[in-house]
Symmetry: D2
Amino acid sequence: MTDFIPTPTVPAPDIVRCAYMEIVVTDLARSRAFYVDVLGLHVTEEDDSTIYLRAFEEFIHHNLVLRKGPVAAVAAFAYRVKSPAEVDAAEAYYKELGCRTERRKDGFVKGIGDAVRVEDPLGFPYEFFYETTHVERLTQRYDIYNAGELVRLDHFNQVTTDVPKGRKYLEDLGFRVSEDIKDSDGVSYAVWMHRKQTVHDTALTGGDGPRMHHIAFATHEKHNIIQICDKMGALRISDRIERGPGRHGVSNAFYLYILDPDDHRVEIYTQDYYTGDPDNPVVTWDVHDNQRRDWWGNPVVPSWYTEASLVLDLDGNPQPVIKRTDASEMAVTVGADGFSYTREPGEERGFKMGNQL
Amino acid sequence: MTDFIPTPTVPAPDIVRCAYMEIVVTDLARSRAFYVDVLGLHVTEEDDSTIYLRAFEEFIHHNLVLRKGPVAAVAAFAYRVKSPAEVDAAEAYYKELGCRTERRKDGFVKGIGDAVRVEDPLGFPYEFFYETTHVERLTQRYDIYNAGELVRLDHFNQVTTDVPKGRKYLEDLGFRVSEDIKDSDGVSYAVWMHRKQTVHDTALTGGDGPRMHHIAFATHEKHNIIQICDKMGALRISDRIERGPGRHGVSNAFYLYILDPDDHRVEIYTQDYYTGDPDNPVVTWDVHDNQRRDWWGNPVVPSWYTEASLVLDLDGNPQPVIKRTDASEMAVTVGADGFSYTREPGEERGFKMGNQL
Amino acid sequence: MTDFIPTPTVPAPDIVRCAYMEIVVTDLARSRAFYVDVLGLHVTEEDDSTIYLRAFEEFIHHNLVLRKGPVAAVAAFAYRVKSPAEVDAAEAYYKELGCRTERRKDGFVKGIGDAVRVEDPLGFPYEFFYETTHVERLTQRYDIYNAGELVRLDHFNQVTTDVPKGRKYLEDLGFRVSEDIKDSDGVSYAVWMHRKQTVHDTALTGGDGPRMHHIAFATHEKHNIIQICDKMGALRISDRIERGPGRHGVSNAFYLYILDPDDHRVEIYTQDYYTGDPDNPVVTWDVHDNQRRDWWGNPVVPSWYTEASLVLDLDGNPQPVIKRTDASEMAVTVGADGFSYTREPGEERGFKMGNQL
Amino acid sequence: MTDFIPTPTVPAPDIVRCAYMEIVVTDLARSRAFYVDVLGLHVTEEDDSTIYLRAFEEFIHHNLVLRKGPVAAVAAFAYRVKSPAEVDAAEAYYKELGCRTERRKDGFVKGIGDAVRVEDPLGFPYEFFYETTHVERLTQRYDIYNAGELVRLDHFNQVTTDVPKGRKYLEDLGFRVSEDIKDSDGVSYAVWMHRKQTVHDTALTGGDGPRMHHIAFATHEKHNIIQICDKMGALRISDRIERGPGRHGVSNAFYLYILDPDDHRVEIYTQDYYTGDPDNPVVTWDVHDNQRRDWWGNPVVPSWYTEASLVLDLDGNPQPVIKRTDASEMAVTVGADGFSYTREPGEERGFKMGNQL
Ligand SMILES: [Ca+2]
Ligand SMILES: [Fe+2]
Ligand SMILES: [Fe+2]
Ligand SMILES: [Fe+2]
Ligand SMILES: [Fe+2]
């Protein structure tokens, strides 16, 4: 079912972590109101077309670039590598894969030096860089700490048609799997992969792709996430809360999904677990386990399965979206045709969402 | 629309607070597992047919009585009054109302002395008592404090067909309104009423009644409620989480609704506000305000509107359930026929639940 | 030892709760920076000489008045009464006590109507009022909720030489005791007294008096208090944190004491318990119990025992401070001469602070 | 001032993280009561002489070994390495350093396979291992999650006479410095060093050594730490709370120090920051900065500076304790002879502890 992405002969670049995302927004002022006024991200610098934002405990130049453009989309998923030489390694690696690459010694955005961007085998615009301007790490600036403060970029989430294919490609690139969702027929629905010592730097979600599912920021504690909900209620934008808050089954994190003015999805996330040991146990969830996506069994809204953001090629044009042909997680789990369980078969009760509709 | 309940000429009893509920459960061991093992309520005493439970900071004998019986139902909503003489006042008050009353000098249950039970004008079994055995208040017993500790009984919630009728009756009884839900046609959907200085000791929810909608216990902080969800997930009883957690619009409390083995509904609740001033402002919500029941606009599951527990008459037989004839909150707000708003009319977006289905 | 304050023959005014304090500050701008910029209290109105502040969930005009003046002191401890007629009752009550009183139909400060101020038998300036301007209750304004938000005025604390004398006077005035600190010789060191259903509206602390020990505001949760500490650290005013944070033995509340620019002491406080039942159990602590003031046994700094604010008479002159002649809590518990215990006598270890010095 | 520890020519072992500590306790039952009943660590296995304990989210066999013995001391600081071959690397590395080493293919304790123990150049018993039995990771066992749950081993802290010497040795071993405390004369008082992506796996504290200063476990949130204090109060062992809770300046973590029955010090710790980037900024604190050890300026109790646990050589005999000759942090900062500041020089106020004594 999977067309194979070969393993290059040259070494993969040594990736440290997901570092920033560049997104195109259609109304810069509205996006600024959302990311700065509502979410409280910190402006490193900004001009008429672009805003550079970072989380509270970040010391690199930014974690999010908002760039004004005609079509809402993602321009780059950027990873930091371990040294300047690893940018060369990334370029060579993707060249051997036959991917289009573009190298810019002065970087693609402010605050980032020598970088390479590629159209990766799954169709995503990946960037690799080491050089970056250090900025004030606000860690102990509790005088400006807000009640829903976002303290770190945590991860990306990408929608792709063929999860096993993407997983093999990312494993070759040095990512390690922490958790995944499968069924007994061997269909793979999603996989979580990391470089830093958390559950993930990126995850692959099966669906029509390539698309960006969400970008996630971490808070210190759960009450910070609740405050974000409360604030969105006070601002009468509660309809921009898409899903949650809740406790993930996968990753064990406390989560919330909200939508920015262009429907780019943002997750707020806290308290997953340490994954740094080489033999960190992989957790596999059955797609029919009703607690895999929400530990409390609360239903996943359909839009969360179906909606996602376009991604751009290196010319800035949206990548065409390809239909997933494998089974859809929504189809196999939600509603009359789907099947899910709260307890193991044999116990009396079952699918929670069915009870509600 | 309302048949009038006359105001007695004798003074209403001086009620201090909601104090305990007596419920009939069909399987005492299963109910014990739920209330003691899952929720961590503290056993004051128990025998083969009855368990007396209290919250962490309670000093009266109990807040909940579980009594084994053939049909799941509520036997009493018990209020504490200010002095022994107020039990006499209660008896006289209901006698003048023409209600059936029963007085027992030694109480109806262990730990409670002289008490009167009545079949009130709305069909509910109300009890009034002052005398009670003082037991250890566990307030600083942090050595047995569990992560989801329930610290106080907070309130009752009753389903009744005619909310304005019930409201007038409870106002005569000395309750004061803190919040309510109405529509522009003057239909009243729910009302919150208090004696102690919180948002409510009891609330009236419009629906087929008389039935018991829920009993609510308070925790110290929001994370305690999240822990209860997490624990129910770990025990694989997440399908017994009916609604939430969330932030109420009405009352501003953080909440969770769960179901006991007999489908008696329990709310876990924290952080409403002080209502003790005589001119405490009443908050009225429009039934179409999508944030009235959940400040984050998350949908209310239909079962929450339709399901409730039977209540017993003084012979222990279930009261017949009368159909509500006023508009139903579910009907006017949920789905294709309903209408709700997140922001005021004129703004672009609307009903959140509609987006999800 | 106590000179008796007689019980008036007229009824005591029906007090609802502690409502606001008027304090004189020597540098209005510095005080504004502390109460508004650091603590986040909300300005109801202000002019060149006076700032009116309220907590997040307050609906009366203010909880704190800062008035510019030459000598830092407290001008009024103001209580709200249940109706306009209770202001008359208060005036009559204190007149019978032989106290100086002053009645102003238009109030002493903005936002308050008909009020009486008195020089009470202990030397404190007490005010009683009912009429007040209702202002926006910010309860669900989570868009302006800060990470250390103060949500309610909780209580006053007064230093007086003779605690039993003051206790009897306040009991006559309708206050009920929730907790106290004594020793086996019958010396009374402190008492906590309430009208609303919390541990106290005011407390009497034995010492040189009359002086104001502190005013206390409540937060929702413990992390809000920790944030205030963190913020004061970030602002490099950690030397204005006098004591805590900690868990009180008395009241069980989580607490923090900080000092304003004039050394007026402010407590931040959360999670004491319900006291509304008529037979609410009184908790008596032994003065030698090392956990009475801090449940974790952390030492009370000497300044907390010795320092307090002057109070004014009705002419605006500071009341003379009288020496306490009863035993001092600090003397009997701290250091080489004092004695305290963590466990009951017979167990091996003892006084924690002694271990540290 | 420093006698040089040479850099070996063979590569340092690739260390993953601090993994467990083996401590000798004199009364196994009392220690079990402390670590299991009070702190809630989970017993992997135990027998008459030894108890193996782990934190909630751990999947290796244990994080703490309590072994019954005649003298309270630390038998091993154990680090996990990246592969079996790295144990060989460790052995070779220390052999070249001229250190005594002992290799055991079946491990020194249950649940650990091939391991080498060494008497390191600073006199500490270090262990390196890869093989370990995987045990149930309790991450989502919220049914047994207690209110003060310890979820991870976070770090060790070692007392050594010569901090720069130790720092150079640990840097050679692959540790990276995150923070340190110095003075303007170049004296080094303490240093924090990490392998995993947190502030430290171990820290060096200047003092008489070699001794073990503390072992630290992490909780999820701050309220979990407060609960541990509250529980120790309820158990009337508040005199075993040595210092805190507080916010560290160094590391920014919320902390608490408590003492086990043998006076082994345990820190409870939460919410430091990500350090995984190769250029993670190093934070240097001035020893006179009054907020370096406690961000709120609360005083460090003298015992915290002076007391620590003995460490054992490979024969099980205590290492002799050598006096520190460099300046003592306590001497230069506490009391009449010391000097500390809250704000930069030129501002009006200074040393907080001085105000208190
Ligand atoms: Ca919390
Ligand atoms: Fe995510
Ligand atoms: Fe409720
Ligand atoms: Fe206080
Ligand atoms: Fe530490």
